[in-house]
Amino acid sequence: MKLKVPLTASITIAFGLIVLAGYFVQVPVLNILQQILLQWSIPLAAVALLVGIVNLFGVHWRKASTGQKGSLYSALLMFSLLATVVIAGYFGPTAGLSLWIFNYIQVPVETSLVAILTVALALAAIRLLRKRLNGFSLIFLVTVLFMLLGAAPLFGVEIPGLHGPFGARSLLEQVPVIAGARGILLGVALGSIATGLRVMMGVDRPYRG
């Protein structure tokens, strides 16, 4: 039986095994190799970031040049991107003008998105009641309301049995919430290990070759 493993998959499997073995076995050669491979990933990630920016620019360039819907926004995005690169590149990322862009453009824009997020979350809760009304949804929403009410005294008044270190909110947070969260995280950890193993076995290959 001939086993055909593409070159890219062979490299992935070999590198994956070296890095994984380095966590469990304290062999100097293996540990040095592991460190070298992990260090290589840093410049590679930086290059990938640059490619990401080029992709972002390319998508909006095509959108603006072909006059598609929202092309004005695409042009604005490209102008902002280029202006930020030129200013931060020429003056430095900690210069006054660069920080002005960050503090007076990026932060307010992202903060306004957080404000919209609050409305989106409230709408999602209402939609949940309308579209998927069952026992679990009710428990979910009652728990959300309970935790919100117990988060801080209401108009300065503490509700007996709800607030405080021995209140119902604290009990709920420390026992069922943590137990549930740990259960979910264990499931996520098992899933992550299974996915990692499939990548190392060359079963999942999200790359060409």
Binding site: V25, I53, V59, L121, L190, A194, L197
Partner: protein
């Protein structure tokens, strides 16, 4: 050469050994028997319906891969997202509007293009592939979410599948999908995102359900084997926690 292992390292190694052994056993058993039946998850029943609906209506499918880095802990959920993208692109590539993917990380963007190109090539339609179907929409959590919104609104998206690392900003994406009357199927490795998705997505995937996606989408016997191994390991962990709690209760630990 002397190899010294600490208690934690030995436990980790034993855990991995049991996991790999379970995968090998289930893979071997799977060769001689029909695919195992897993518990029904409504999200996966809806997915095949949603793909068909989008193709028939001449609309797009959108796969959102999140902004988690492949080199960190969220990498696993991103790999699962890429697997879903491959299956969806393969199934829906006959559509006039091929699926579009968005990501918030450079390497994820490159891989999403690669995965889509591979899916098109596998059906002999590499000429239909355009790199614009794999977009990097933003490089911070909120800029990523903001960049996904016009894709949903302008690209005639009917079904949005979210698989990867997100934060609470994922509610903006599900809200946009809801506004265009689309179907949203979503899972994440992040606890906050899972809580938000439980309320905001039409078909949420909780906990390990996201990682089971490829087994449910019939990606291959290896996925069935790893999912069965996950179940075994889950029971091993449950037993270990219970034994630990009993020993602690009787002050043996």
């Amino acid at each position: 050469m002397q190899i010294e292992l600490s208690g934690t390292q030995m436990a980790g190694l034993a855990f991995f050994a049991i996991f790999i052994l379970s995968v090998v056993i289930f893979a071997f058993l799977g060769r001689k028997s029909p695919p195992p039946s897993f518990r029904p998850i409504s999200a996966f029943r809806s997915l095949s319906h949603a793909i068909g609906l989008a193709v028939e209506a001449g609309k797009r499918l959108h796969v959102s891969l999140g902004w988690g880095s492949l080199s960190g802990i969220p990498g696993a959920s991103a790999v699962v997202g890429l697997g879903i993208l491959e299956r969806v692109t393969h199934t829906a590539s006959i559509s006039d509007h091929p699926p579009v993917s968005t990501s918030g990380e450079g390497s994820l963007g490159i891989l999403s293009q690669d995965v889509q190109f591979n899916a098109f090539r596998s059906i002999g339609a590499s000429g239909s592939y355009t790199p614009d179907t794999g977009q990097v929409s933003g490089l911070t959590p909120f800029s990523y979410a903001a960049g996904v919104l016009p894709v949903i609104h302008d690209e005639q998206v009917l079904t949005t599948i979210l698989g990867g690392h997100f934060g609470s900003e994922v509610a903006l994406i599900t809200d946009a999908s809801d506004r265009v009357g689309g179907i949203t199927l979503a899972g994440s490795d992040d606890l906050t995102a899972q809580a938000v998705l439980y309320a905001a997505a039409q078909e949420p995937l909780i906990g390990e359900e996201l990682y089971a996606s490829l087994a449910y989408l019939k990606a291959g016997p290896a996925h069935h084997a790893t999912l069965s191994a996950q179940d075994v390991l889950r029971w091993v962990l449950v037993a270990a926690i219970l034994v630990g709690a009993i020993l602690k209760f009787f002050q043996f630990l």
